[in-house]
Amino acid sequence: MPDRAGRDRPARAVRGNVLLLTVLSLVSLAPVLVLVLTAWQPPARYPSLWAEAARGNADGNVWTTILQNTTLGRAMLTSLLLALLTGLTATGIGFVAARTIARISVRARRLIAAAAFLPVIAPPLALGIGVQVFTLRLGLGGSVTGVLLSHIVPAAGYLTLFLLGALTAYDSRMEDEARSLGARPWQVLLRITLPALRGPIVQAIALGALVSWGQVALTLIVGGGIVRTLPVELLAFVRAGDDRLGAAAAILLTVPPLLAFGLVQAGARRTGVGA
């Protein structure tokens, strides 16, 4: 990438950027730091920033608190399971849907893509109260399966659009060639399509998992308060006045997306795409 930073840029602008970077780091990091500070120690009495008896005390160790708390552990497992299954299922549906949309005429494509856009932009609560009745009818109200189905709805719409972007740039003539050489459909899929689109598919699974990971409204409405995911427990902890466990849950919620973004960034750098 050509550098146009300009060696002759006035010193004032550079100073301005240093100031901007300082402000940006304060703004970006402060919320994360306050979560770590709150999770790390027992509640500190106002106006102190630190709890008096924190150090050396077993209670002062946030990991002990997290590991000893079965509610948190179970919620984490539920959330991970939902995220993984949402990512995989929504990628599957999104991939098949996007492939179909990519093959039809441009005019029809716009209409159908708009339909796929609906679940993405529908307010989660409006979506939830509409979807709830169907999960209830299926006998899945308050069950993890019901919540999973509700998470898949926005994720599949989102991933259809995401994969449509990837497929528009994808050259399917290689598939035709393989087919003309006698490859069976599953061979084409396993040997040509999936390897060629590995990057976007992995990203799609991660994105779908993230849609489910942070979901609250759909979980509450369809899960009826019975399905306890990590964000739901976070809300419960804070409502019960336990900011420390709430902050611990918030950190647990932040780490996987952070890792995912790190991986995507690293992947982008390695392949020379994007930032």
Partner: protein
């Protein structure tokens, strides 16, 4: 088309239907429930639920408050995103820092705002250390307040990375060469910003800005942790109605849900219009379009 290809297409359309159907069916169900023919307390068709919701002052207060809060937060996030994407294009550290909030789920960000801005929160404690306040009650009320300050800040914090990312992509894909041409032609930094950077940015970012606004109108979990109970934000009002012990009030939730849905669809249509008129960069033609338009509309 071979039979096999047709089957594959059939499966494809089933997948497309799977994607779109839940919202369509959910919307139809909500409409029936709003008209009183489906759901709890269903009887004969009548517009009474719709009339009751639309004539309830609480609905409008809630909607106005939510729209204002979302609009203020969107403006704040957009301003921050413009500054970051213009000034920190070459700064790797700047980009990483700006992207950090993307990784923090909304509910976690809302808790952070609560712990930071609450009356006994971190800022209040720092203000105490600086000698500005002597007790929590002396610290301004920023949480659960009617002005929605903490909610606005938390919204803006969470949404600005997406807008900054959009701005950076716009400038990277379309701005590079135009910037160089302007520089070669002797434009100074201010002229480059006014005639190249800004026109590109606002065209490229408008769809994203509308998307953020639409998203914030329906945002539930941040409002639950930070918003006042009067006026109640629109998503919270909807939730309160759907879990109302009085069953016939639950139908009103569907009316509220439909209002939110219609509002979002209106914004999407506006988004499409804007994209068409601006010749959105997403279509891949940003560079050409920007070149075509050079001169005529930049000052418009």
């Amino acid at each position: 088309m071979s039979a096999r290809r047709a089957t594959a297409n059939g499966a494809g359309f089933v997948a497309v239907a799977l994607v779109a159907a839940p919202v369509l069916l959910g919307g139809i169900y909500s409409l029936l429930a709003a008209l009183g023919v489906a759901g709890a307390g269903a009887a004969t068709i009548s517009a009474s639920r719709i009339v009751r919701v639309l004539s309830d002052a609480e609905t409008w207060r809630s909607l106005t408050w939510t729209l204002l809060t979302a609009a203020t937060a969107t403006s704040l996030a957009t301003a921050a995103a413009v500054v970051v994407s213009v000034r920190l294009q070459e700064s790797r550290a700047g980009r990483v820092l700006a992207m950090l909030p993307l990784a923090v789920p909304h509910v976690a960000a809302a808790l952070a705002a609560l712990l930071l801005l609450g009356q006994s929160g971190l800022l209040s404690r720092l203000a105490f250390a600086a000698g500005w306040v002597s007790e929590p009650a002396a610290f301004p009320v920023l949480v659960y307040d009617r002005t929605g300050i903490s909610l606005i800040f938390a919204f803006a914090w969470k949404e600005f990375p997406f807008l900054a990312l959009t701005g950076l992509v716009v400038l990277q894909t379309a701005g590079q060469s135009l910037h160089e041409v302007a520089q070669t032609l002797g434009a100074d930094a201010r002229a480059i910003f006014r005639r190249v950077t800004w026109p590109l940015l606002w065209r490229g970012m408008t769809p994203a800005v509308l998307a953020v606004f639409a998203y914030l109108i329906g945002q539930y979990e941040m409002a639950v942790l930070l918003a006042p109970s009067d006026p109640l934000p629109f998503p919270l009002l909807t939730y309160e109605r759907i879990s109302d012990p009085a069953l016939n009030r639950r139908g009103e939730a569907h009316v509220l849900g439909l209002i939110a849905l219609l509002l979002t669809i209106a914004l999407v249509l506006l988004h499409e219009r804007v994209r068409e008129t601006l010749g959105g960069w997403m279509g891949g033609g940003a560079h050409d379009r920007a070149a075509d338009d050079r001169g005529e509309r930049y000052d418009a």
